[in-house]
């Protein structure tokens, strides 16, 4: 019996308790500040329990919510007792912040503030400012290391409030099955520049003054963003240049000279920024261990390292080749040979910096620029370099044509997720020639059902592509705490207001991580069950679909000129299956999780 169903069996069928009480919810049922479930998750059948029964593979997290209900208000204290030390199982506890939504005035939990238990506070929580708050939720992450012996482990959580003590027993069954360290899909989280860090971390900004962007604190901060995504089985990308070619100083080596004299003068800021990421030392303190980041953007753009002033002339080639060959040499000498360094053009002509689109190319004559940069890269980088350079293109309008005409030029495709469904049959060919294939899309807001953050994770695996990018994951908005826009462009929040010099995770990021973990384990059964069977069953359990429901038939539109399309045409041509929208229930992933656990129990 799985976590979810056990939660259901011990249901209280209602949580409106008159006295202080401690209850638990499965991870997909997000509590509100009044002891109920948030509206978006209410269509999932389950409710609060007075006991937690968990089951987990090794090398994995298993999670649940604890809710301290203190209707009479006042001081309370929550303790999550440790598991036996010999088990090496650890429980991380986070206070769930209730974001007030600007649009509706309602509250949803999302930011997770790390706390140590016993945690003492008052109801209502003094800083969250929820009027008439009666319940405080805590997310509990239980980490089961790979070396933990299979078996049953027990502990408990305790609430003390108003002279009463309430206890919730926690029973964890650790399976023999092990979640592989390497994820079956790369789930990427994108971001742009770093000026937002100065806004999100006013304490640090003020302390560092004018030297903020070159301070050790700043580099530690930006590395903390990579680290938190890594710890959540994710990838982080951070672009360091703008649409007119401006490169922030710490994203590139400093250059001097021009024409044939242009050269790299100084690696100091770049190495302080990227060195610990590229050698993996920035991750030494994590449970996953020190590992170099798998991907990183290069600062190369039409204005860097070569100046557009020389475009089309010998000087452009000389500047480009001099500097890029110097970069290859530096990376090689540093031993940074496992990260993929991405030549990636993000600019669009609508921003008026350059005369061609680097991102989401719509006009076919722009392809020639990509071909030219591939030629320049071949000149700059020795054929036998151990440094991994990839030429990435984020494609939408004309992806089908680009697959053909830029074969051998682009080898890392990041494709608009909706449209790529039309061309899914081309994925095997792209992969067969050695190209990496990702898809991209957005970040579901906190007001969507809890399972929404897992849709694209599952789609990536069902489609058999290599990864998925959420295009913006660090823009929390002007006031994410009391006037939240729903968080549709963030998975992290600044820890500044809590005295934390780094980001705090969102609940949605935790749900995404647990899904990646499940899929990674599920994929290990492909030899015994067959990939097709696993995909079909995962899709069926997720939302009652067949694997083919995840594909999009090629529309007539695809055979017309993309220069004549608009977004409405594209929207009309992408199937609108309600099972992926309004029909999605919060427990969708929980059913996949149960399927994975069922298979995992068979592992001897």
């Amino acid at each position: 019996m799985s976590c979810a169903s056990r939660f259901g069996l011990i249901s209280l069928l209602g949580v409106a308790c008159a006295a202080a009480d401690l209850t638990a919810f499965p991870e997909h049922l997000r509590p509100d500040p009044f002891g109920a479930i948030v509206e978006a998750d209410r269509n999932a059948a389950a409710s609060a329990t007075h006991a937690v029964e968990l089951e987990a593979a090794r090398g994995a997290y298993v999670s649940f919510h604890l809710t301290a209900s203190v209707p009479e208000g006042g001081v309370y204290r929550v303790l999550v007792k440790p598991f036996p030390q010999s088990s090496r199982i650890e429980a991380d506890v986070y206070r769930e912040w209730f974001h007030r939504l600007a649009a509706s005035g309602g509250y949803y939990p999302d930011a997770l503030v790390p706390v140590r238990t016993p945690y003492s506070s008052r109801m209502p929580e003094p800083d969250n400012l929820v009027p008439q708050q009666t319940a405080q939720a805590f997310w509990v992450d239980v980490w089961v290391p790979a070396m933990t012996a299979p078996g049953v482990y027990e502990t408990s959580a305790v609430l003390e409030a108003a002279g009463k003590t309430a206890s919730v027993p926690i029973r964890l069954t650790v399976l023999r099955a092990m979640v592989p360290e390497e994820d079956v899909v790369a789930i990427d989280h994108n971001s742009y520049g770093s000026s937002w860090l100065a806004v999100d971390y006013p304490t640090m900004r003020q302390r560092a003054g004018a030297g903020f962007y070159s301070s050790d604190d700043y580099f530690r901060l930006i590395q903390a963003y990579y680290r938190i995504f890594y710890e959540h089985r994710g990838v982080f990308h951070n672009l360091g240049y703008g649409h007119a070619g401006k490169v922030a100083p710490e994203y590139a080596p400093r250059l001097e000279g021009s024409g044939k004299a242009k050269h790299i003068a100084d690696w100091n800021l770049y190495d302080r920024h990227f060195g610990p990421l590229l050698d993996g030392s920035a991750f030494a303190s994590t449970r996953r261990g020190a590992r170099p980041i798998p991907y990183v953007y290069l600062p190369i753009n039409p204005e860097w390292p070569a100046s557009m002033l020389a475009w089309g002339e010998p000087g452009y080639e000389r500047e480009f080749v001099n500097v890029v060959s110097g970069m290859e040499k530096h990376f090689r000498e540093k031993g940074w040979t496992s990260t993929r360094f991405e030549l990636f053009f993000n600019h669009k002509k609508r921003y008026k910096g350059f005369p061609w689109d680097g991102d989401e190319v719509r006009f076919a004559r722009d392809y020639a620029y990509f071909t030219e940069y591939a030629r320049l890269m071949r000149l700059a980088v020795p054929e036998d370099t151990p440094v991994k350079f990839r030429f990435r293109a984020d494609v939408s309008w004309t992806m089908e044509r680009q697959f053909k005409e830029l074969a051998g030029v682009i080898n890392f495709w990041v494709c608009g997720g909706g449209m790529f469904g039309w061309y899914l049959d081309q994925s095997p060919e792209l992969k067969a020639r050695g190209d990496t294939v990702w898809i991209y899309g957005g970040t579901p807001p906190m007001t969507s059902p809890a399972s929404d953050v897992t849709v694209e994770v599952l789609r990536t695996w069902v489609w058999g592509v290599d990864g998925f990018v959420r295009w913006q994951t660090t823009a929390a908005g002007g006031d994410p705490w009391f006037k939240s826009d729903g968080g549709g462009e963030t998975f992290l929040y600044s820890g500044d207001r809590f005295g934390i010099a780094g980001p705090v995770a969102s609940l949605r990021l935790k749900l995404e991580r647990n899904a990646v973990q499940d899929l990674t384990l599920l994929d290990t059964f492909k030899r015994s069950k067959g990939t097709g069977t696993l995909r079909a069953e995962a899709a069926r359990r997720f939302n009652g679909t067949l694997a083919e429901d995840w594909h999009a038939p090629r529309p007539k539109l695809a055979d017309t000129n993309p220069e004549d399309w608009n977004n409405a045409d594209i929207g009309d041509a992408i199937p609108n299956n309600p099972k992926f929208g309004r029909g999605l229930d919060a427990a969708a992933w929980q059913r996949v999780h149960e399927y994975v656990l069922g298979l995992a129990r068979e592992v001897q």
């Binding site: 007119a244 002509k349 005369p355 309008w397 608009n566």
Partner: protein, 179 residues
């Protein structure tokens, strides 16, 4: 007090330098080429509002890269005449009532006192209107620490077809608009 005097003197000097560059720009920037930068199809779409597709004009935005590059290179050379980091941006009127304008070429320092990040086109500021109507250069200090000189761009008929913004700032922001 001495610091204030120094800043005023530095600003005045800067404006004088920018004015000299703007004067040269009026001679060197070819208005006929500027008019050929945006493709006719893109220009036609620029002001259209599609209720089903709010991004249509942006997605349709397109330029002739030859004309764009020729002009951009000229603007970049002009910027090298500035004693401190500056950008020389190209602005072109957009036929509309009331009048509108679009920045058509921006440059690497991301400086402008007029462009709001991401705007495809915008209401024509009074200062620009004045330049286009009178053909005289105008010095603008709208944003603290920034100075712009606006100067007309002429075509071969002697008509003013656009304008340049020569712009610099007292303190560079190496992270602004890196996004």
């Amino acid at each position: 007090m001495r610091m204030v005097l120094f800043f005023v003197a530095a600003t005045a000097l800067c404006a004088q330098d920018l004015d000299r560059v703007a004067q040269v720009a009026s001679v060197m920037v070819d208005g006929d080429v500027c008019r050929r930068i945006q493709t006719p199809k893109s220009a036609e779409s620029l002001l259209k509002v599609d209720p089903r597709d709010p991004w249509r004009a942006s997605d349709d935005f397109d330029v002739n890269d030859g004309a764009f590059l020729q002009t951009k290179k000229t603007l970049m050379r002009l910027a090298r005449l500035c004693p401190a980091a500056c950008d020389v941006n190209l602005w072109m009127p957009v036929p509309a009532t009331p009048p509108r304008v679009q920045i058509l070429i921006r440059n690497v320092n991301e400086m402008s006192q007029f462009w709001r990040w991401g705007d495809l086109h915008q209401a024509m500021p009074e200062e620009m209107k004045s330049v286009i109507e009178k053909g005289e250069r105008v010095t603008v200090r709208r944003r603290p620490g920034m100075v712009s000189v606006l100067a007309p761009v002429y075509d071969s008929l002697g008509d003013i077809v656009g304008l340049v913004e020569v712009v610099s700032r007292a303190e560079r922001d190496s992270h602004e608009n890196v996004k």
